[in-house]
Point group: C3
């Protein structure tokens, strides 16, 4: 049996998404099974930037869809104003060090067979539709998340 890691991604921050995806890629490279469960703001990481929909949405949900990040490169930094450091500065420093971008880590995780789950309740509350998310994302309940987490040696809330 492979070792298993389950990450609950609640946050929609660029830097936390980076941390989560680095762990997910590293885990797969070590032969671990890796599950990412996206809930609340975490769903912003797996929106498909090309698939914004307005059908069957309340006015709140339409507005919400418009004002929130359209995909992973659109995420804000958790410490946007932290000592004046901005996302552009972090990206520049990553480029200087030849670190892959957030999109590279996301695509790496998709290619390496990381499991992508979206939280059913969050999807409903935020008025998102499954077809607005990346095709890898399967929408599951909190109980299904807990079943997966119980089988995992490592669980983190990010």
């Amino acid at each position: 049996m492979n070792k298993k890691m389950n990450l609950l991604i609640f946050s929609g921050d660029y830097d936390k998404a980076l941390a989560a995806l680095i762990l997910a890629n590293a885990g797969r490279e070590m032969g671990m099974d890796v599950t990412l469960f996206f809930s609340f703001w975490g769903l912003m990481l797996v929106r498909d930037p090309e698939k914004l929909s307005f059908e069957d949405k309340t006015p709140f949900e339409q507005m919400f869809g418009l004002v929130t990040p359209k995909g992973i490169e659109d995420l804000p930094l958790s410490k946007m104003n932290f000592a004046g450091l901005g996302k552009a500065m972090l990206q520049d420093m990553m480029e200087d060090d030849k670190t892959p971008s957030l999109t590279d880590f996301l695509n790496g995780a998709r290619k390496k067979g990381v499991k992508f789950y979206g939280c059913k309740l969050s999807v409903e509350v935020m008025g998102l539709k499954e077809e607005e998310l990346l095709p890898e994302v399967e929408v599951i309940t909190a109980k299904q998340y807990l079943e997966d987490a119980l089988e995992s040696q490592i669980q983190l809330f990010i």
Copy 2:
């Protein structure tokens, strides 16, 4: 032996409280033992809104008691300014989807036998008194938390 989940709730944010209480309710419905350990800002979730006390408090503690949330519905959103989305908007969207309110999830956890613990050091530093908290809350030390966490299959820091 039941499976067990232990959530350390550090954050005093409305949306993170919602995530934690959804997991706690789902865990109990699956027959798991569930422990919530409220520390620092997390204690704001389990203040009894009717039991504000000023006795035997330093001026700092009195001011702190006044300016901090008086109970779970008083919590701010972790992403208050995130793209202009406010708590009222989240609550409206939850209502549209007939999702129970945060209070419903809290009361659900209380009725379902979720264990409520408060962090002793945090209670002391914040100048709270045990009688200002919900009656279910038992105040324990960090070591007692760790003993409980060691017996759990799932531990998260929220």
Copy 3:
């Protein structure tokens, strides 16, 4: 075999650092093995305030080194504006309760044999040098972190 706890410290907030170090000290006092893995903003906790370096750094990295916290007492509060409560107020309340300061908890963890690891990628991206960190800090990869976390009964992302 000792029980083991592994804390991934992503956050550079004063109050979250306090929570992490209280757990680390409590764990050691109970005879547990404790690992702290500092990544991203968490690295600010283990900068040596006396060892700021500008050599071999890009202009971004130099600026970053200057504007970010120089050590643990320099950290901001995660809820700086939360209801007007500031770090000075928290520190005053801790003093009133004779709670050790953050530096005391950090030094306690160092003396008690808590393992200190820094995230290699974060160190590189932030342009920090190993000699700018506390002497206890060993720089390791995400995979080495995962190996350590897999051996632990408790893992938290803070």
